[in-house]
Symmetry: C2
């Protein structure tokens, strides 16, 4: 199924994209890593987990205190990998599209997140076992228990389990139901259970409570009865300042900080539209029971773009650059028909057919794809899945997820949502600060409008501190509401009643050279930890010659270290050559590390295969006489021998993906050395 395809050229030509097809070898302009065997995904998860731990990519935080689930610390390798991915993200998105980067605070007043809807809606439903104190996420528990009963039924009637049908999200979690009991169900029950599973993502909390009651779903561990589900908000709360009165949350996304700065950013951009802001920073979600390593954590690095666009002009001026990029789509129509068939087509076709709503959304889907290719994601294990309306976040009107396949199933790694004008509108209304764009029109527009005339003094005296927001709310009323209010001679808004004596509404003809509008927001949102984990899995393979020899075939641009320097022995004549070489590499901005341990050279290289270091330089006795060095490539383990100047030149090109290893090998010829 998989062809071990590797793409890591940073500047993919349009010509190459046109020829980009998933089923066959890549044509010129996109380089493949021919040396790497076609093994993507062919390993036990325990093998990569062992490497992650041993080479300290990351590990459980507060380990010596017994660890806290959902919190991870990155070690030196993971930290470098993350920094390199972020660096590429910044160049690929922020620099390439001249985005306005901001860095906003994690601490967020409760009022802001109340307005954005997160206080009320950013929650999961949980059920508690009142005796043991255990807490379960209600939807996950119902799903798992019912699946177990269906499996038990199938066992009882002698039917083989079809594990393939298991939901992806479920595969990620550790099972709570440890044992399947073979009990036959009647036909009606089987049908009811299957219907529940098909709709599991759509139930409200009270509905989940009814299911728990009706089907007697209990704590799988001790068979204890559960309390009805209650809503559990996923935000961490705290208080700012010494009074204990000022409630705040840790942000669950970086987006709100960008929305609140919209006016300043628009001004900074000389009032030009469209434009994008971007932010890279930590966010926090108090998951009920996080498992599955980096895939579900309580504190994580996000990178988010907010592209502010005129809702009437969602074409994108650089769309032509990506229109031929082919993506693998799983649209909502196909999912609603109960299927998971992938449609492979160019983003140009997808926008033309209307499957993807507009060019801006399409542009970002393609840019997301190209970014994921740069950092080493296998394109065959990547798909773009459209959200169904029942699963959409409260602020979104359309959303596509870049899902990456890992040993936990298909994982949402990038969301690309159209948040419409939702956030800017609610914050405007709440604060009275207009988060809008004033467009100068070339042709004036003429409209019939209900115009309020306010008796300022009396209005101010009556409504005092509410006057400002009330005025804005009156302005914002729909044409219909204003007409009704004019008829009733009283405006009912925000719980107030404003009589005609204070605000009079009249229908007037209005000519205007200005159009005020609230921009729509297209938001590509990246979970860096999930992506990093997917890159680890997609880069990992085991050398056929030994099950012990894991390799992380990172693209050179994201490898924690580019070059390993290996003196053949601890002879002082060799060691003394190392610092100068290291410093020359550093001057060329090629990261390098020395391994002058006493381990055999093969062992030292094996260690660095696990660290994902793409190149190694050996300093041996011949180096002391003629200055020549050997250069080893990680995936093929092949070497060349050349002068220091040539090696430095080649390495510069290799680490910038300007040349392929096969070309280097052809030019210099393979060198067979002391390594086994």
């Amino acid at each position: 199924m998989l062809i071990g395809l590797r793409v890591f050229n940073h500047n993919i030509s349009k010509e190459a994209l046109r020829n980009f097809s998933f089923g066959k070898q890549l044509s010129c302009g996109i380089k493949t890593m021919a040396s790497r065997p076609a093994v993507s995904g062919q390993f036990e998860r325990a093998q990569i987990e062992d490497v992650i731990k041993k080479r300290f990519f990351y590990g459980p935080a507060f380990d010596i205190y017994g660890a806290v689930s959902g919190l991870y610390d990155y070690g030196p390798t993971g930290c470098a990998l993350q920094a390199n991915i972020i660096d590429i993200w910044r160049k690929h998105f922020i620099i390439n599209d001249s985005m306005l980067e901001v860095d906003t605070t994690c601490l967020t007043p409760a009022e802001v997140l109340k307005t954005s809807g997160h206080v009320d809606k950013f929650a999961d439903w949980m059920s508690k076992d009142p005796v043991s104190g255990e807490i379960f996420r209600a939807d996950h528990l119902v799903e798992e228990v019912i699946e177990a009963r269906l499996k038990g039924h199938n066992e009882a009637i002698g039917k083989a389990a079809s594990n393939e049908e298991e939901s992806d999200d479920k595969k990620k979690r550790k099972k709570k139901v440890k044992q399947i009991t073979a009990i036959k169900l009647d036909d009606a029950a089987v049908q009811e259970y299957e219907e529940i599973l098909a709709k599991i993502d759509g139930y409200s909390g009270p509905e989940l409570g009814e299911l728990i009651e009706k089907y007697d779903i209990r704590n799988p561990g001790n068979d204890g009865k559960l309390n009805p589900p209650i809503q559990f908000n996923l935000m961490f709360d705290t208080q700012i300042g010494p009074t204990g009165q000022f409630k705040a949350y840790l942000r669950p996304e970086t987006a709100q900080g960008q929305f609140l700065n919209f006016s300043k950013l628009l001004e900074f951009n000389n009032a030009r539209m469209p434009f994008a802001s971007a932010s890279i920073g930590k966010s926090f979600r108090n998951e009920i029971a996080p498992r599955s390593g980096l895939l579900r954590v309580r504190e994580f690095l996000m990178a988010e773009v907010e592209y502010f666009v005129d809702p009437l002009k969602k074409d994108h001026e650089r769309f032509f650059e990506v229109e031929d990029v082919k993506l693998r789509f799983l649209s909502k129509d196909i999912q609603l028909a109960g299927k998971t068939t992938i449609v492979e087509q160019s983003i140009g076709e997808a926008v033309t057919s209307g499957m993807v709503d507009n060019q801006t959304l399409g542009y970002y889907l393609a840019r997301i794809f190209l970014f994921l290719m740069k950092i080493g994601i296998d394109p065959r294990r990547l798909r773009f899945r459209q959200h169904m309306s029942t699963e959409m976040a409260h602020y979104a009107c359309d959303c596509w997820d870049a899902e990456i396949e890992t040993s936990y199933g298909w994982i949402e790694c990038v969301g690309c949502a159209d948040r419409s004008a939702y956030d800017l509108t609610v914050h405007s209304k709440k604060t009275g600060h207009p988060l809008i764009v004033r467009e100068q029109l070339k042709e004036p527009i003429v409209e019939q409008k209900w115009i309020p005339t306010i008796e300022r003094k009396a209005f101010g005296m009556k409504f005092k501190k509410d006057a400002k927001t009330l005025e804005a709310a009156i302005e914002d009323l729909s044409m219909e509401d204003k007409a009704q209010a004019a008829k009733d001679k009283v405006i009912k808004v925000n719980g107030f009643e404003v009589p005609e004596e204070l605000v009079k509404l009249e229908l007037k003809e209005v000519r205007s050279n200005i159009r005020d509008y609230t921009p729509n927001v297209i938001e590509p949102s990246f979970g860096i930890g999930r992506i990093l984990y997917a890159v680890l899995e997609h880069s990992f393979w085991i050398r056929p010659e030994s099950t012990e020899r894991g390799v992380l075939s990172f693209p050179p641009s994201i490898a924690p270290t580019s070059v390993l320097l290996v003196p053949l022995s601890s002879n002082p004549d060799l060691l003394r050559l190392v610092p100068a070489l290291s410093s020359k590499l550093r001057a060329l901005e090629i990261s390098n590390k020395v391994d002058d341990s006493s381990a055999a050279i093969g062992k030292r290289y094996a260690r660095n295969d696990e660290l994902g270091t793409p190149f190694g330089i050996t300093i041996d006795f011949q180096t002391t006489t003629d200055g020549s060095l050997t250069l080893r490539e990680r995936d093929s383990t092949k070497q060349i021998r050349a002068s220091e100047a040539e090696i430095l030149d080649v390495l510069g090109k290799l680490t910038r993906s300007q040349i392929e290893w096969s070309a280097v090998l052809a030019q210099y010829g393979e060198f067979t050395s002391q390594e086994a």
Copy 2:
């Protein structure tokens, strides 16, 4: 006093450092920015605050919601400035010294911070006005009220106020005492007040309460009586998980995450000592009443190094590289003598004389200095002040602060503390996980030791879950305590009594090839926001020709944008040349921005002076015929004209600080153009 000295060469030679002297011009190897007038600090704070706001370096977070004191958002310019400072920090510290970077979580279990001492000791004392609800930091209030009374006394007796004597920290704060009342005090009161002020940093909370009571210190706003001071912990608290039982804090420093990973990092470093870890990340402190902009905030970016070293070997192998660096010291001896005299000497001399305790501490003080020079801090406005024992953090045994002078006074921007073995020891004791180094000795050591023999089964049954930590605590007892316990036939430890039947102590001769030790930790800790603010102030000046024309003379390496591209007019023939030039610059990793607005060219350059963009390229009609461009330097406003290839070459060197503008000007000759 100030000479407007600017240093921005990244690779300062040892020769240059030897000649580095503060009072005179710098010699070769360290380049000065001759074009910049000697005006460092000669402006009103409102002027720079205006530029910071207008050019969106940063602004109050949640502005449209009325803002939250102590929280700031960075706009595109501030964000780029911060990213560049961090990039230089990473190269200067992490890459240069092969440090192990980690990225650990902000969420920290309460138990960890209880052990580290932060739950009990990381607090300020506050007094509340029970009527108005206002809260005051007790030490600041006592100081301010007593100073106001002394001023009132001086006014009453007709003595001029000596503002010079005002403490630096006080200058930073907005005054709570708005009016000075001229009341004469008796001589005894004057003397008492002066003694209180001299000791103000040393009072405990209860002592501050006594002062408030004795001297009838009240709310300066309404003369209301205050409650006795209570301790207010500066950490933000929250709960992890759905039970509400698992208390956590937001970390007040990144250090703890590094300490807890010590064993993994030591193993990663192949068990070699010494080594350093480093971390760049957000920390949080719930300040009682933060003011003074970026200098006292509730959420901030830190960059911290933890250098783990054998307490018996605090020499540093690279000390020789920095021993000639001259620093300005304010030692604790001089402060205890009531003076602020700066001693200027090389770090080599300071270590030799013992003023700076050891080479490792000295190495880092010098490296901190060199880092601050790279990013544009004025060396005359930088000093290293040693903490007095009364002001040291609870974990530190010695500490030097790099203090930078700003319009708020001298500000602590980098702390360099010797945390001794404090943190590793307390976490080891608490968890039973040894955070130690096992050193293989060449010569075995022979010692008389009290060796405990534990009746494991009985011991385990009796102490159950406490058995592990109790065993560690017994091991850790001093020789004296063990001797006493052997005599008493009972070991009293951790509130337990362990009888001889369970643990027997015997004096034995022990030969060992292994030495176990807990490393000491030297910690350079950087507050990035404070440093960034100091850089803004030190870089800011006003062109003499107009009070309106502010300039931010950032070194090119930290400027948010390196090059401004300015088409002379909006003629399509000029505009069409811009994208290719911009993309060539980007390929050379020279950041650039286009200003194709219709504003006059002089105005466009003035705008970019405020953004700190060091270079500008003008594209004019001559460009369309011969391809030549003009290059303008920000500080001198002088220009040269040359071919595109030459300009790109020169810019590459200028942005890497490989050449000075004066040399460029000499080579190409000044070009007088359309700019006024």
